[in-house]
């Protein structure tokens, strides 16, 4: 028999009303606008888009506002929104070589075509709190310098010229890119599906795993071949027009990790690679993704699987923070009946033990 218990409707309604009040905060202060969040909390917006796996800065900013800045809640909101929309199709793969670069650094070559472009980075700041930001003081316009008309060559292409590095990951021509949002997950998982999962994976989880590989748990000797951030053109084939057209531009971060070399009896040694590509500006995430991508290629590259970061099922099954938060947080919902059952079981077991002990005690006394 199952008896449903109802109640709490008024409490829930009032809790949501209270939430709305606390979200708004002190009414004497101006309310945040979506434009302010997009412009001034842009990296929070980028993280929400990346992990929600939906590029839309305005909606991501709305999610940040609605969630009171709780990133995983915001990601959850945007993820839920995407399920309400039909899919029009897939884009032409973005061309990161043709990116309008806003930042590009390489840790492997000092002088390379296009140069080291620092862009808007936190690197080399002193990480001291800036009291001037307590006030709304005017901010200087950025410095400018004539931009050379020069291609910003991929570092992997430089190394590829000499055959010193493995090629970009290839699949047979008839391979159709898999989609984890459409097909159930199965292991072993091809690299294209793993990259999709990692691209939406939790930044903190991937960062920790990436760090673990550096500390010796699945070591793979990384160098940042290149990080580039900037806008790429998004194009899609439109059947009505008979050709591909631009949908606009999106900002992405790409990381090319160059890793320890590998050779065999047949092939001379060459560097291996890990790849990271993330929506928005997020180089910590792109770097972590490329380290984990490389670690997960252990089997393909004939390495021993000894560490968590190399364990495909462990990494991919636990990288999605919406799934993770759903399962962890569901524990706080009413489990009254389950717990009553466990309570009854524990009481019965204890009673049985007590009876046995009493019987034993009486037998001892009788002897």
């Amino acid at each position: 028999m199952y008896v449903a218990v109802k109640g709490g409707e008024a409490a829930i309604n009032n809790a949501h009303r209270l939430l709305a009040d606390r979200r708004r905060g002190d009414r004497s202060l101006p309310s945040l606008t979506i434009e302010q969040i997009v412009e001034q909390l842009g990296l929070a917006v980028d993280r929400v888009m990346a992990e929600a796996s939906l590029y839309d800065p305005a909606l991501a900013a709305l999610a940040v506002r609605q969630s009171r800045g709780d990133m995983i809640e915001a990601i959850f909101l945007l993820r839920a929104y995407r399920t309400t929309l039909p899919r029009f199709g897939a884009s032409v793969p973005v061309d990161t070589a043709g990116m309008q670069v806003e930042r590009r650094v390489s840790a492997t070559y000092k002088d390379l075509p296009g140069g080291q472009l620092l862009g808007p980075t936190f690197d080399y700041t002193h990480r001291l709190l800036d009291p001037s930001l307590l006030e709304d003081l005017p901010v200087d316009e950025p410095a400018r310098r004539p931009a050379p008309d020069e291609d910003i060559m991929r570092v992997s292409d430089i190394l590829a010229h000499e055959g010193l590095i493995e090629s970009d990951g290839e699949f047979p021509d008839d391979h159709e890119a898999g989609d984890i949002t459409r097909e159930p997950m199965e292991f072993p998982m091809p690299r294209d599906l793993r990259l999709q999962a990692l691209a939406r994976g939790d930044e903190g989880f991937l960062l920790a795993l990436a760090y673990s590989t550096q500390r010796g748990f699945g070591r793979n000797h990384p160098f940042v071949g290149e990080i580039r951030i900037g806008e790429v053109e998004l194009e899609m084939d439109v059947p009505e027009m008979g050709f591909s057209v631009s949908l606009g531009r999106i900002k992405v971060t790409e990381c090319q990790m160059v890793n320890q070399f590998k050779g065999s009896a047949k092939a001379p040694p060459q560097f291996t690679r890990g790849y990271g590509l993330v929506f928005g500006q997020s180089e910590r995430k792109a770097m972590s993704m490329s380290l984990v991508d490389r670690a997960l290629r252990a089997e393909e590259l004939g390495e021993d699987i000894t560490a968590p970061a190399q364990d495909e099922e462990f990494v991919i099954s636990h990288s999605d923070n919406v799934q993770a938060t759903g399962f962890v947080e569901h524990l706080k919902l009413p489990h009254y009946v389950d717990f009553q059952a466990e309570l009854a079981l524990v009481r019965r077991m204890r009673a049985e033990i007590a009876t046995r002990n009493n019987d034993g005690g009486m037998q001892e006394a009788a002897e």
Partner: protein, 157 residues
């Protein structure tokens, strides 16, 4: 689809691709401004949308390898028909329906010989100039953060 491709000469296709690319970059304000400035407003019948959906953004493994699915983006699209029978299509990132409906109207007007020059002069050229100026400014701001390495000679040879 193949028939449409064959019927359209290569240069015409490039022209329309360029127009569609610029229209996708036009702001709502630019589109509304052009519409307001249009002396004879065409009669427009909606055929499809404007409707918002998702496009799966693809990347390539290693930057140039096999495609993989990166994540989705919101895209709004619309198809309209002018009373002359010319169909206009538009699709752009985001969820702004009115902007994309206007874009489809201008795609149709661009295809008509009588209005193409007007659309070029009053919408596409200003958008092209604005986008080029913004790109140039960003490129210059980025160029100012380029590292100029120099060697310091220390000690005596």
């Amino acid at each position: 689809m193949d028939i449409a491709k064959e019927a359209m000469p290569q240069s015409e296709q490039h022209g329309r691709q360029r127009a569609a690319s610029l229209l996708a970059k036009a702001s709502g304000q630019e589109l509304q401004g052009a519409w307001d400035a249009l002396a004879e407003k065409p009669t427009v019948r909606p055929v499809r949308g404007p409707e918002t959906g998702l496009v799966m953004v693809r990347g390539r493994i290693g930057g140039g390898g096999a495609p993989f699915n990166l994540g989705e983006a919101t895209v709004t699209r619309a198809t309209v028909l002018l009373s002359s029978g010319t169909a206009g299509h538009a699709q752009a990132l985001g969820t702004s329906k009115e902007k994309v409906r206007l874009t489809a109207v201008f795609d149709a007007l661009w295809q008509e010989q009588a209005t193409r020059q007007w659309v070029e002069a009053n919408l596409l050229t200003p958008v092209e100039i604005r986008v080029a100026a913004e790109d140039a400014q960003k490129a210059q701001e980025t160029a100012a953060t380029r590292v100029d390495f120099f060697t310091m000679v220390r000690g005596e040879d």
